[in-house]
Structures are given as structure tokens and as C-alpha cells.
């Protein structure tokens, strides 16, 4: 058997170890989890209290959470929070079609 330069670099007796994905993912980046929670809170406020800017904030928060989410996480959670925020916006406008009033 020809010993290729590759073998010499690797060494003759090597063992292959399988990849173990790092389990501690949640502590690294808390942004997507916080944003998800904020999105739910805002959408609930917007729906119950019929506050338009809450509903819009919820949409933004869920978008940020989606952008920062990890691939290992379930996408259903993010999708459901996004749907909830969109429904909050639609419901607030159905109940009160007037445009949003700004404080300034």
C-alpha cells in the first residue's frame, strides 16, 4: 500500500470521533427568546386592550426573533408568534379602522 502524504500528516493510528453538538445553546444568545416573549406580550396587549402600536411592536419583535433564531430550534414557535402578532394587528384594525394617533 502506498503511503500517501495525506496519511503521514494524519498519522497512522487515528480515531474518528463523531461530532457532539454543543448542548448549552440557550445561554449563549438570549435575544431570540426574549424577543419571542415580548412579541407574545405585545400581541396580547394589543388584542385585549385594543392598542394599535402594541400590535405593530409585536410584529416587529417576532420578526427580530425570527432573524436571530437558531437553526436547531423549532421554527413552529417563531411562526406561531408571528401569526399571533399579525392577527393582533388585523383585529385591532377591524375593531377600530381609524388611523393610529401619534403623541406628537
Amino acid at each position: 500500500m502506498d503511503s500517501t502524504p495525506n496519511d503521514e500528516l494524519k498519522g497512522r493510528n487515528y480515531a474518528i470521533v463523531r461530532y457532539k453538538p454543543k448542548a448549552a445553546n440557550a445561554s449563549d444568545d438570549p435575544v431570540p427568546d426574549y424577543m419571542n416573549l415580548l412579541a407574545m406580550i405585545f400581541s396580547m396587549c394589543g388584542l385585549m386592550l385594543k392598542i394599535k402600536w402594541c400590535a405593530w411592536c409585536a410584529v416587529f419583535c417576532s420578526l427580530i426573533s425570527f432573524a436571530n433564531s437558531r437553526s436547531s430550534e423549532d421554527s413552529r414557535q417563531v411562526l406561531s408568534s408571528f401569526m399571533l402578532s399579525v392577527s393582533a394587528v388585523v383585529m385591532t384594525y377591524l375593531q377600530n379602522p381609524a388611523p393610529m394617533v401619534t403623541p406628537w
Binding site: 495525506n6 494524519k10 480515531a15 461530532y19 457532539k20 432573524a67 437558531r70 377591524l94
Partner: protein, 483 residues
């Protein structure tokens, strides 16, 4: 994207429908008001049947409901008129001069006629303005929708950019990786051991690659921690406080001599010294400059042993590579007691001895310079240096003195941990004893056979007596010593 446009169209339709509804409501109320006014105006005129018929004609243009309602109103009118007739008889007609329907003033009749004539044009139902006249009031909503649109565009652009960065890194390094490792890229879900030759996407800004199959190396993990270009808010934050992409390459070793060593740029060394647990425990001295080893002035080094270890690690090849790539190099951390960063909550009850691995970690900062796209290629020598070091370190044999020192350090650290946990372990042991005694007593209480009960009782009594004796003995010993 299509989904969003459809959603926007649906929202717009909803707004238009809801706005239209408002107009219809408004028209109805105004019309009803008109009818009421005219009805009351007509009460004082008893000869107004003609006028009422004209009114009826005018009302024909309304919807069917209102026409149906009219006859019933007329009936009511008749009833009311008679009643009001009596009321008005008592009132002085002179007091009501000038009111519409007053017979005495001829002009008022004209006014009434005019009113009736005017009614016809007013009966037309106004057209709902379904055009864009209402949209300028919704400028805040339009701004929000625009914001969402911009964020989405930035997401796709950022995602694509990160993806190209990662793939260009891989394309530059793949050849060398194939030469150095048997397995390049591992898919944990795949049961077969196959090289995927692809980076694994942990998130839109973090990519990993696991390589394995090299002598004395368990494996090598490459983490590309790129900037969050897909998140608009992060992009804005980066503009204000610039950070750079980082590549963290960690080689897990199977054999590594007992040493803890770190070299890097000043900022990272100070940071690592504070956060890394092993550096805190083993490298108590302040970081030193590396002039003796020809290190650039911007770099500092930390070591557990300052004898032969730094000289061995910082040989000419390593120093040359570090000097050539000063702009890229961030830190190099070699440790056989690597356990990651210190836990943030220091006041935890049981600080258990952390699990340690033998690891060499190299961190590379990558600044994107648009004029020089080939900079990724410059990282390859650093990776080569890392592999070269990992091979070299296998052969290192510490001198006797250094080895003794290192072992002593490790034993000290282990003792410290034991002491810290001593109190907790004592408490735990005491609790266990109490639990046992309680269990025994319970057994005795529940025991039905009186013989057995008596025996168990005796056992418990004996144990308690022994304890008391021991305490007394201890007390006597102390007394003797004091004397």
C-alpha cells in the same frame, strides 16, 4: 415575500370595507334626522296633506325600508296631531311668530316649500369615497409597513452575505483540511461516518465545522461567528460600536502536557484572564510582554510556568506566523485544564469541580476590507500553525521541576474545591444519618411483633448512648490537652 404582499392587499381591502361602512351609517342617521325635523315642522299645519304627498314622492328615492316605515309614521302623525291640536289651542299663536309652518308669515311658507324642494337633492345617497383620499391619514401605518419591508430586505441581503463569507472561508481551507483530517464535516444525524465537506449552519450568523481523524487529536471544531448582518438592529448597533467577525478554532487533544498558556493581543488577554476559569486558577501573575521571545509589542502572554514552556511554544515558526498576521490574530489559548468561561453566578451553593478537557483554542479576528477580498486566504497559515503546534506539543516533555510544580498546582486547585464543598458534603452526610435514624424509628413504631419492637428499641437506645459517650470522651480529651 408573496405571502406578505397578499397580506398587505388583504389588509387594504379590510380597511376600505371598514371605512365604507362608516359612511353608510352616517348617511342613514342624517337622513333620519331630516325626516324627524320635517315631521315636527308639519304638526302645526293641518292642511298639509298635499305637502306630505310631495314628501312621500321625495322619499320614494330612499330604500324600501324607509318607505314602509312612512305609512306607520303617518298613522302616528295623525294620532299625535290630534293630541297636539288640543295643546296648541291653549297656546297663543302670536308667540310662535317666525317659526317654520307659521300661517301668519307668508315667507315661512316659502321657506317650507324651499325645504321640501331642497329635500330632493339631499335624498341622494352620497358615494363612498373609495379612492386614496383616506390613505394620507394612515401615514403611521404606511411607515410601519415600510419598516417591516426594509427589515425583510436587510434580512435577505445579510443572510446572503454571511453565506458567501462562510462558503469562501470553506473553499480556501478545504484542501488543507482534507490533508490534515480524515473526516471533514460531520452530520450528527447521519449514521454513516461520511465527510460532508460542508459547514453546518447553527444560525444565520454562526457556522460550524467538525473535523476528526488525526493522531492525538480527538477532533477540531471550527466556529465562524459572523456579525448579525441579517438583523437590522444589530447592523445599526455595529455601525455605532464596531466589532468584527471571529473564527474560533478549537482542537481537542487526547494527550497534552500539563500546561496552561495563553498569548494574544492586549485586549483579549485581559478579557480572557478575567473570564476563563483555568486562566484564573493557574495563571495568577499578570500578563507579561513577550519581548524575550520576539513577540510584537501589541501582544501579551500568560503562562502557568515561565521556564521552558513559553520558549517551546513560541518558537521561530510560530512567532513568524504571528508577526505576519498580526492584523488577524486575536488569541491562542493552550490548556490541559480547559473548562470554558467562569460561571456568572459565583454564589452558587455547590461549585462542583468543572469538567476539563485538553484543548488548544485559536481565535482569529476577521475584518472585512472590501478592497482586499483575498484576506480569507491569509487565515490559512494560522490554521496551519495551529496544526503544527498541536503536533509539536504532543512531543513536549516537561522538565522535572516544571512537572512537579504543575502537579502541585493541580492538587492545590482540587483541594480548594474540596474545601469549598466540604461544608455542603458534611451537611449532606448529616442529613443522611438523620434520615436513617428516622427510618429506623419509624420501623420500630410500625413493627407489630412486640419482640422485634423491643429489640429495635434497644438498638436505638444503644446507638444514642454510644453517641453520648463519644461526645463525653472528646470533651475529656480536650480537658486533658488543656491541662
Amino acid at each position: 415575500f408573496l405571502f406578505f404582499t397578499c397580506l398587505l392587499i388583504a389588509l387594504r381591502k379590510v380597511f376600505m370595507f371598514a371605512y365604507a361602512k362608516q359612511f353608510y351609517k352616517y348617511d342613514h342617521t342624517s337622513l333620519f334626522r331630516n325626516i324627524e325635523d320635517n315631521e315636527f315642522a308639519e304638526f302645526e299645519d293641518f292642511d298639509d296633506t298635499e305637502k306630505q304627498t310631495t314628501i312621500n314622492n321625495g322619499f320614494v328615492e330612499f330604500e324600501a325600508e324607509q318607505v314602509e316605515e312612512k305609512p306607520t309614521n303617518e298613522v302616528e302623525d295623525v294620532v299625535v296631531e290630534t293630541e297636539e291640536d288640543e295643546e296648541f289651542e291653549s297656546l297663543d299663536p302670536d308667540e310662535f311668530e317666525g317659526l317654520p309652518g307659521d300661517d301668519t308669515i307668508w315667507e315661512n311658507d316659502k321657506k317650507v316649500d324651499k325645504n321640501i324642494k331642497k329635500k330632493k337633492p339631499e335624498l341622494k345617497i352620497a358615494d363612498v369615497p373609495l379612492h386614496l383620499r383616506s390613505w394620507d391619514k394612515y401615514y403611521v401605518e404606511i411607515l410601519m409597513a415600510l419598516g417591516i419591508f426594509v427589515y425583510l430586505i436587510n434580512f435577505f441581503i445579510g443572510k446572503a452575505k454571511n453565506n458567501t463569507l462562510a462558503s469562501s472561508w470553506l473553499s480556501h481551507h478545504l484542501d488543507f483540511l482534507h490533508k490534515s483530517f480524515a473526516l471533514v464535516g460531520d452530520d450528527p444525524q447521519n449514521k454513516k461516518i461520511e465527510s460532508t465537506n460542508e459547514l453546518q449552519k447553527e444560525s444565520e450568523h454562526v457556522y460550524t465545522l467538525w473535523c476528526s481523524g488525526r493522531q492525538c487529536c480527538e477532533g477540531m471544531l471550527v466556529e465562524l461567528k459572523l456579525l448579525k448582518r441579517q438583523d437590522l438592529i444589530s447592523v445599526i448597533a455595529h455601525q455605532m460600536k464596531p466589532i468584527n467577525d471571529q473564527v474560533t478554532i478549537s482542537v481537542k487533544m487526547t494527550t497534552l502536557p500539563s500546561l496552561v498558556f495563553c498569548v494574544g493581543i492586549k485586549k483579549s488577554i485581559t478579557n480572557l484572564h478575567k473570564t476563563m476559569q483555568d486562566l484564573c486558577l493557574y495563571c495568577a501573575d499578570k500578563a507579561k510582554m513577550g519581548e524575550k521571545y520576539n513577540l510584537p509589542l501589541s501582544m501579551l502572554m500568560l503562562s502557568e510556568l515561565y521556564g521552558d514552556v513559553p520558549a517551546f511554544i513560541l518558537d521561530s515558526t510560530v512567532v513568524r506566523v504571528l508577526k505576519d498576521h498580526q492584523n488577524l490574530f486575536d488569541s491562542l489559548h493552550i490548556s490541559d485544564q480547559y473548562s470554558g468561561a467562569k460561571p456568572l453566578d459565583q454564589n452558587d451553593d455547590a461549585p462542583a469541580i468543572p469538567e476539563t478537557v485538553k484543548q488548544i483554542t485559536l481565535v482569529i479576528n476577521y475584518f472585512i476590507v472590501p478592497e482586499k477580498p483575498s484576506e480569507i486566504g491569509e487565515m490559512v497559515p494560522l490554521l496551519k500553525m495551529l496544526i503544527y503546534l498541536s503536533d509539536k506539543l504532543k512531543k513536549l516533555r516537561l522538565s522535572r521541576d516544571s512537572q512537579i510544580k504543575a502537579d502541585k498546582h493541580r492538587a492545590d486547585v482540587a483541594d480548594r474545591y474540596l474545601k469549598q464543598t466540604h461544608a455542603q458534603r458534611q451537611e449532606a452526610a448529616q442529613q443522611k444519618k438523620e434520615e436513617k435514624a428516622r427510618a429506623l424509628k419509624e420501623r420500630m413504631m410500625n413493627e407489630e411483633d412486640p419482640e422485634k419492637q423491643r429489640r429495635l428499641d434497644e438498638m436505638i437506645q444503644r446507638k444514642e448512648q454510644n453517641k453520648k459517650n463519644k461526645k463525653m470522651m472528646k470533651g475529656r480529651q480536650y480537658k486533658v490537652k488543656a491541662m
